[in-house]
């Protein structure tokens, strides 16, 4: 075995010296997150500030990790919390159990629960891991609350309330490519996803302002 053989052994190493690096200096440096990343949940509001959650417990029912606890209550007539008879009185997600599968988002009939792209949150005690309704609800600006132990980066809190499924909520293929969800808080509207059959979506309407185009596809 000669010297060349020895150097040949380093060939891959030398080759890679001149290629673009794929590793990053996490956490100082972060790569963009995919559009469909399932992060920390938020509970959305309507434009008038009413909560979207009606306390129907479908999210809790569908949750495979049984990490959601919801209880409804009669909506007070004089000061309604959400439209309709019932509102989510208790809403808790235990992030020690949550597997971020997004089934709760699929199950929600009012699009009250959606997910941000925040996944970097850690806790120093167990009770912090159980997010209550107060912590999950978005503020009046439609943006998630930034809790002390959460490390929010730009863009992680947008496109939360108008996250689209590939098909319409009814699952009717006729509506593929149609924006079915409103961006009523003026925040987070974007073009519809490519449908399940792979056709190109219709171009987004002029007034819809696509945001967050930088994700992987």
């Amino acid at each position: 075995m000669g010297v060349l053989d020895y150097l040949r052994g380093f060939r891959v190493t030398f080759d890679k010296l001149f290629e673009e690096r794929v590793t990053t200096e996490y956490p100082e440096e972060k790569s963009p997150k995919p559009d469909r990343l399932h992060g920390r949940h938020v509970l959305n509001r309507y434009e008038d500030g009413m909560e979207k959650c009606i306390g129907c417990e479908l999210c809790a029912g569908v949750c495979p990790a049984k990490c959601i606890y919801v209880r409804g209550q009669d909506n007070p007539l004089d000061e309604p919390v959400s439209p309709g008879e019932r509102f989510g009185y208790i809403y808790e997600i235990n992030y020690l159990r949550c597997i971020h599968c997004d089934l709760c988002v699929e199950a929600c009939p009012t699009q009250a629960i959606t997910e941000t792209k925040l996944f970097e949150f850690s806790f120093t005690n167990r009770s912090d891991a159980i997010y209550t309704k107060d912590e999950l609800l978005v503020g009046d600006d439609g943006l998630p609350q930034n809790l002390p132990w959460e490390d929010w980066r730009p863009g992680e809190d947008v496109a939360t309330s108008a996250w689209m499924r590939a098909t319409s909520p009814a699952g009717d293929a006729d509506y593929v490519g149609t924006v079915g969800w409103s961006g009523e808080l003026g925040y987070g509207v974007r073009a519809p996803e490519v449908g399940q059959f792979g056709e190109d979506p219709e171009p987004p309407a002029a007034e819809v302002d696509p945001v967050d185009e930088g994700g992987h596809h």
Binding site: C56, E57, L58, G61, E85, R86
Partner: protein, 816 residues
Amino acid sequence: MTDTADTAEGIAITVNGQAVEARTGELLIDACERNGVYIPRFCYHPRMTPVGMCRMCLVEVDTGRGAALQPSCMLTCAPDMVVETESDLTKKAQDGVLEFLLINHPLDCPICDKGGECPLQDQTMAYGPGESRFVEEKRHYEKPIPINDNVYLDRERCILCDRCTRFAKEVAGDPLIHFQGRGNGTEVNTFPDEPFASYFSGNTVQICPVGALTAKPYRFKARPWDLEEVESTATIDSVGSRIVIQSSRNKVLRYLGVDSDAVNWGWLGDRERFSFEALNSELRLTEPLIASGEGHRVTTWSAALGAAADAIAKTPASRVAAIGGARLTNEAQYVWAKLLKDVIGTDHVDAQLGDGLPADLVLGLPRATIADACRPGGTIVLCGPDPKESLGALYLRLRHAVIEDGATLIELTPRSTGLSALAAHTLHPRPGELGALARALVAGTTDDVAGVSGAAIGAAHQAIAAGGPVTVLLGRASAAESAAVVAEAAAALSNIDDVGFLSTLTRGNVHGALDMGLAPGLLPGRQRLGAGIPRGWTSVPSETGLDSTGILTAAVAGEVDALILLGADPLRDFPDRHLAEQAFDAVDTVVAVDTLPTDSVAAADIVLAAAATTEVAGTFTNLEGRLSALAQKVTPPGTARPDWIIAAELALALGGDLAIQSLDDVWTELAAMSPVHAAIDPAAAAERDGVLVTGTIDYTPVEQGELPAKDAYALRLVSVRAMYDQGSSLAASPSSAGLHREPVLALHAADFEKLGVSAGDEVSVTSARGGVTLAVQSDPGVPRGSAVMVSHLGGPDPYDLIDTTTLVTEVLVERA
């Protein structure tokens, strides 16, 4: 449910090409279901008359004249019927009906309480068209409107199946909700300014096939998929209705009625249905307490049990007494009976509070079941409390028997009852003279007796003498009338041929308590004291003890030092409250085992927090003597313990050992020592209809004694109970707490003039015991010479007037 026996002759029909045997007179929908072919339905309910309203059960039937769609809920099976439940025609009809039903149904399933357990949802999934072609605006009504204190009606969701309205009219007899409007605008509603005031309104919520009717206590509390359930028995009254207990997160959220053919037919009274609220009450006793200064302080179980044991140990057995036990399970009653009668050695034990009947009267007479009482063509003699006010589920059975099955009802009650409108003969004797009336009734006297005309007695006698089975509903209609009066009447009525007695003692598991020996002179298993020491026991008391009245009287005389209360509240529930108060003052130590802070608990020296129903497993014995299972669904609050464990621990603290480690041990002992329980298979008791405990004891009638002549100026007091009052359990149930009436003194209008009062006047009512002031009201259901008051209403109470040492309590009524 079509009334068919298993043995009925079969009819050969063809269902979906399969030969199937139907019973004579059976409805097609039942025959198909019994043979495994489910036909979807909304309006059909097996316990109510079919109406053929929803058209969901349309099936293709060929009776020889060509196939046509027919409602299977109204079609009686006929020979050679050819039925297609899955043909294209049937399928199209089902699609069509579901599409029609859904065009005006709001589909607010996510917020609807029924979502997840909704027949409309389920059947739409199974038989529906999948998509609606309806694009117009749906019908709109004001969202839920309260139709009474506990039930909300959402007319948008209503599919007009006629179940609630039929229930109200047919079953409950309160036709206060009905259809209004026409065509598409048809709606169910109450009449203007007249709420659906029914004791049974909760059943409409249970049978509603959509979420149109919801009950306030359960509204939005949980969704069906997070409920866990177990079948059990309701313990709030002695009927022992079968229920399903549903809980979520260790909290009981709902009771549903279960169709037990022998007992409640699936119905529940609202008081039973919503009684779980008391178990979840903030008021519940969760820790043992010990008297400290004016009140109590929380202590440890060892300290509380030690204190109780010390107090009992230093007292001679003859000076220890126990009252109560009807709240307990049979098993706990047995363990307490063994503790009291074997380890402690006292026979001063009584599960009743002076408002019931002597134990040997209940256990000594030939007993009848509810089914016996409700036999078609039978005769029912009501000689006890108003079933409508006290035993709701029994009332519904009796009502059905009289209306649908032609039973004859004879009332021997001190005032009219909820069944009076259905009674063939209504006889209201003067208080204290029930025995005389019963003798006259059996003998067929034509003279006036006890204030009842001879003609009326004669007519009622004819009904009894006509033959056929007679069932006497025996209980204590009025707490102001001594039990001896009822015993006298029972002795007379027992001379009727083919007579059976159905006890209508009302309090929870009181019949289990009698069976388990929680009565003076009795041992578990319907055995008398004095027949030797039962197997597994070491000793029995040497002398027959005192009943509640005797215990309290002895206490006042300084002959009782330690009083144990097993879920009893003598200060509120003993008819002579003055006697109870004096007794409490005189007793050294009061130990209360209870679930809620009653007046007596407040006065107790040591309080032992007990687990309530739904928190303990065991069995329950209803008024027929039917043993049925009680299930544990949730855990007790705090450190509250099951009653039987408290007894076992107390025995240990007293230096004895009951040798009972589990409920199975109880049954092993019972099987060995109780002749009436030996034959019972605990597995059979776990069945829905339970198992009857049979066997009677020897009973010698006792004469009631001389009734003092009626004071011409006085009225005789009648003290009755109402469905809703301020009893401790109801007061702790928010849904029922506010439903009680205002206390009034009810008199016959003819007595008004004599007394110089008019309706609405405040009057003072005075007896030898005390006096109260309340408004007077005219009531045609009260006989002349009687004054009726309802106890436990929270205001002026007849229990402040009653003298339990006399046969009747006479009162003077004057304008205040």
